[in-house]
């Protein structure tokens, strides 16, 4: 297979995106796009400027964005607080793993959407049910990934540490923790992306504000350009979140995958 430089493949990615945008722009300019099916560029601009100046159903655009981010980050934050310690425990104790993993394995394939009605019943139509839904998804992912990280530590590395004279507690904090950090951070990045993606599903539960609410509500009024603005905003914010976390990961874990 002919190999090209990293820069070549990056240029291909940028090029393809540019072509797609140009195609969209061209079709818009030629007047071939329908505002209420696949809107042209100018309709999106109009919807965006309307959102920025007048907001949507009583709330400014930035409030919609912050509401969604607040829910995603709350659910994600709780998931980190619970999932990482639990994952470490499951990864280091066979007994704990045997007791708790069956439940996690069972929960994992259940689509979060299937839990929406039940969570509404349990936690009401307020913030609780939305945060709980995001928490559930991020938590399952983080716990399993963290446990896998702890289990992947070579047994000989623990033995080597014992024979260097480390106590059990030192091995935990100075060997097990840093050695499983790659799995934990990757788990956090993917859980963050999942949490953000779940906002729309969570905001199907009788939300009055948020990007997911904006999208569903605008759809019922056939305001398709607004729906597109909502989707594009979710996508762009997701991209930024992923990018920032990936950057942190690469800085902290410069040694990863090079052993």
């Amino acid at each position: 297979m002919p190999s090209h430089s990293e820069g070549f493949y990056r240029a291909v990615s940028v090029g393809v995106v540019a072509i797609a945008l140009a195609l969209w722009g061209g079709l818009s300019a030629a007047g071939l796009l329908q505002t209420n099916t696949f809107p042209p560029v100018q309709a999106i601009w109009e919807a965006l400027s309307e959102l920025l100046t007048r907001g949507y159903s009583g709330s400014p655009f930035y409030v919609q964005i912050l509401a969604s981010m607040g829910r995603a980050l709350s659910g994600f934050g709780l998931a980190v607080l619970v999932g990482v310690p639990l994952g470490i425990w499951l990864g280091s104790s066979r007994l704990a793993d045997a007791m708790i993993s069956p439940f996690l394995t069972f929960m994992r394939p259940i689509p979060p959407i299937a839990l929406v009605p039940l969570f509404t019943f349990y936690f009401g139509i307020g913030e609780g049910s939305k945060v709980a839904l995001i928490f559930m998804t991020a938590f399952l992912y983080l716990t399993v990934n963290t446990a896998a990280g702890v289990k992947s530590i070579p047994h000989d590395l623990i033995l080597a540490s014992q024979s260097l004279g480390l106590t059990g507690r030192q091995i935990f904090s100075h060997v097990v923790m840093p050695a499983s950090l790659p799995h934990i951070l990757t788990g956090m990045r993917i859980a963050m992306t999942l949490s953000w993606a779940l906002v729309v599903a969570a905001e199907l539960i009788a939300a009055q504000v948020g990007l997911g609410y904006l999208i569903t509500d605008a759809t019922t009024f056939f305001r398709i350009p607004l729906v597109f603005v909502g989707i594009l905003t979710i996508g762009l914010i997701g991209l930024v979140l992923e990018g920032v976390l990936l950057m942190i990961e690469r800085r902290v874990l410069h040694w990863r995958g090079k052993q």
Partner: protein, 258 residues
């Protein structure tokens, strides 16, 4: 270079048996193993794969206990892993998130040794293994041979009473293996630790050892003990063409086929 010898202690392995309970019954890994190593002696154990030689080394390290028999270091029974025995694994068990210097000082730092004690020691041992100039490199930036040098320095800084080496050069290419054998012999002259060396490379065993124990396939038993009275210091080209070397190497080979 200042020569500072470390407190080498004798190792006694007496009547050691090790049995494992497996799903298909009891597996006798080691049977009636007797080995005695004097302070600063270099002793090799040679045997086929699965003969239990690594099991034996792990028991000396304190990772495992004999089913019966005794293992004594300086007359004291071994009950747990500890920094008094330095173990060198075949695949260097380094901390990939720490650079060379931090890997070397990790043991003393964790055990609460003062910084002004372990820093000069680190400098010395890094120089002994030939890694000076690479203090700020990370393990992934080192070659296989350099990683093994790092693992040896990290163990030596603890000034262990015995070095336990589990096929330490087995994964290295031929040229690097010869360099590492030379390094080991050099530091044995400078620091004079007691060494228990596991290998399946007969040339390596004869070249570095004062004495060789040959083990049989499972159950692992000592089938031959050979003294290696080759003069030291040894150089590979001279030693391997020596008549005595050739004779000893054949004796080990014969014992292995036993």
């Amino acid at each position: 270079m200042t020569t500072s010898r470390i407190a080498a202690l004798p190792l006694t392995i007496a009547n050691v048996d090790r049995r494992f309970e497996g799903p298909s019954g009891t597996i006798q890994a080691l049977q009636d193993v007797d080995i005695a190593i004097a302070p600063s002696e270099i002793v090799s154990i040679v045997g086929p794969s699965g003969c239990g030689k690594s099991t034996l080394l792990r028991m000396v390290a304190g990772f495992d206990q004999p089913t019966s028999g005794r293992i004594l270091l300086g007359g004291k029974p071994i009950t747990a892993p500890g920094a008094d025995r330095g173990i060198v694994f075949q695949h260097p068990q380094l901390y990939p998130w720490l650079n060379v210097l931090d890997n070397v000082v990790f043991g003393p730092r964790m055990r609460g040794v003062p910084r002004d004690v372990f820093m000069p020691a680190a400098e010395r041992y890094i120089q002994i293994v030939g890694l000076q100039g690479f203090e700020r490199h990370f393990p992934y930036q080192l070659s296989g041979g350099m990683r093994q040098r790092l693992q040896i320095a990290r163990v030596l800084i603890n000034e262990p009473n015995i070095l336990l080496m589990d096929e330490p050069f087995g994964a290295l290419d031929y040229q690097t293996r010869l360099e590492m054998q030379k390094l080991l012999l050099d530091l044995c002259i400078d620091i004079a630790p007691t060494v228990l060396f596991i290998t399946h490379d007969i040339d390596e065993a004869v070249f570095i050892s004062d004495r060789i124990y040959v083990m049989s396939a499972r159950p692992g038993r000592i089938v031959e003990v050979l003294d290696v009275p080759l003069p030291r210091p040894r150089a590979f080209e001279e030693a391997t063409t020596n008549e005595l070397f050739v004779k000893l190497r054949l004796q080990v080979l014969k014992a292995l086929k036993h």
